[in-house]
Point group: none
Amino acid sequence: MKISLVSIGDELLSGRTLNSNSRWLAHQLNSLGHQVVLGLTVPDIHVRIIESIEIAADKSDIVITTGGLGPTVDDRTREAFAEFVGADLKLNRELLSTLEKNFADRNIRMPKHVRREAMIPDGAITLHNSVGVAPGLYIQTENGTHLIALPGVPGEMKAIFEESLKPILLDLSGERPVGIESFYTTGIPESPLYKIVADSLGEPNMDNLAFYPSTLGVEVRIKIFDTPEDRNVLATLRSATEPWCYTRKEKSLPSILGNILTARNATLSTAESCTGGLIASRIVDIPGASKWFEGGAVVYSNRAKNSVLGLPNEILEQWGAVSPQVAAILADNAATRFNTDYALSTTGIAGPSGGTEEKPVGLVYYGVHTPKLTIVRKNRFTGGREYHRMHTSQAALHLLWLILENKYKEHPWADGSVETLHK
Amino acid sequence: MKISLVSIGDELLSGRTLNSNSRWLAHQLNSLGHQVVLGLTVPDIHVRIIESIEIAADKSDIVITTGGLGPTVDDRTREAFAEFVGADLKLNRELLSTLEKNFADRNIRMPKHVRREAMIPDGAITLHNSVGVAPGLYIQTENGTHLIALPGVPGEMKAIFEESLKPILLDLSGERPVGIESFYTTGIPESPLYKIVADSLGEPNMDNLAFYPSTLGVEVRIKIFDTPEDRNVLATLRSATEPWCYTRKEKSLPSILGNILTARNATLSTAESCTGGLIASRIVDIPGASKWFEGGAVVYSNRAKNSVLGLPNEILEQWGAVSPQVAAILADNAATRFNTDYALSTTGIAGPSGGTEEKPVGLVYYGVHTPKLTIVRKNRFTGGREYHRMHTSQAALHLLWLILENKYKEHPWADGSVETLHK
């Protein structure tokens, strides 16, 4: 079905907030077989919200709004929905008691105005919010337009979408694409990956293909119909992306590593300098990480590298903190210190300052300690501090994955990295 | 003046590309004294582009489009502009020779279809593109609407904006911005904060006020006019939000702590269990953190708490890992181990599993070690694992900030937390 997205909030028009919700939703909706035909961004003004819903309803079968569901007077989506469908706002008692319980659990007295959140348009279905208080809303107009309201807070929007909205949208999408297949790759930039895929498939077969790059890698996604041709296309795509594809389902590298390590009853620790805890943080993001992750050291200063992970000062003086030698010792010593089978390490220059001609901003060494060997690779990532840390964390996790999967030796490197230590 | 932004491109509706142009433009336009009142995102379809320009022109004085100015057939903005203003597309010879020269300079033969880029609506002014080939366009309709077309490539869009469009927009903006003031708060949920602000200002003064909640806190933002009344409103707002306001500029808590610690020549370390490196990672996100941050230990397992930070096993057995005693010792021992003046610690149950009746999912203890004392507070955050970690990291950083700013004693706690250890 045709869908319009209406993003509500002054902060989206003032430039304060990036509208990442729309992209995320568009991505999801397309993979459910729907088509996003229009995006609208409007301020928290009652009449503007109604106008935009009118425009959206005129162009599409389903209108999804984000934002404006909070408890304050500048949250106006409930009123707009009610007016648009010609319904009254009614107190939903069940919702009110959920709200009251939520505040009671947090040991906070519920302010009176929060009651607003329990006032919903008569006839609307609430979509349960497992991570926040305001539920989503779903209501159908007399003309058959499906109106859906989601909160603007990304975590809440996503939770409601996944838990309550997806089944409804799957139901509404008559023409299910027979299959959408994804290949999550990392360690290869979009352009060379595109070339490899295009060369293997031939241009005419690229129609149903999409590339979604992020700081963690590139997702290649294809819509497949149940024909022999398409099964061939899928097989070709599988082998073209195989060296860089670490999963076919939407799973993070840490969670994939967790499954492998758990199955082998093996453990991991980290020693991070330039990534500053990002790898550990991404690991701990995975429920159940305690089964395979012992912990890590963020050794940001040279003194911490020495005092916490026993890096000899002579090594620091001879090679400098950003060197393959330091990366290797950090990984080895983390494994000893945390008593783990495997350990990851990073040391680099994230910038913006601190670079030299010999060791420029962006330079990084990352290492993997295993019970048998220790490997360090070097790369140079451009694009700023945050980008550098994300790329380094992913490269280090990917290196461990290649080693665990016994794919390291024959891996066709495509990210510009080189091995600098192997012992 | 009122401005609408029209973003053109299939990639924006498929979820492939994040619309970062709109945010950048909105930010710029607001600071030039204009007001962005509507955002539209449409596919590369001629009739949809025209419709969206009609809607936008109806709502605003200036319409700025991005995208659709390239040389290929799916670049349709030039045609849409021409049709909308009722002008012909005419070959601009000057532009054509610029294009030809550009290709000649790169020693590439100009493909025929690139000529399209030199066909512009009769009467349009070209806006020079110093980093790409397609120029921007500026044309006024008979009704006086200002139509501006910019390329979708961010670097080109920004260059044209800065070099050619800014002077035009400054000219058009008669009324300079009256002033927008922000209060960044944390440690108080949106609803009670709203109540406090509403009680202090009175409903009639809430019109220009907005609340922007995130996992890190709530920003209160107000539009101020240069009148005695508004100066009063600002002063009232300042004192109402004061206990929870940690900055008036857009700055993160780690960066504010960094400034304070640097000024005092003091250092910080971290000991994280449930936050798993998130605090360290947020700190290292700040350029120059090496001046005041030594590093941290992610002690996820009990064994790591013992072996890396010397937490006695008897303490673990007696009180359990999630206890004020453990939070205190972790903070104290991190300070010793990393040889820092201050240290932060966290230990909690992020869920989804691992909770008991006595220690439910969401429970967390976080501590601050200072040269004089160690304080541990307890809270219970609901809303899932990621939310729990973000909230805990912010609460721990905020606790340190309150202590450093000598505001801890009289702080009116509003987040449900309680002190559980003070020594």
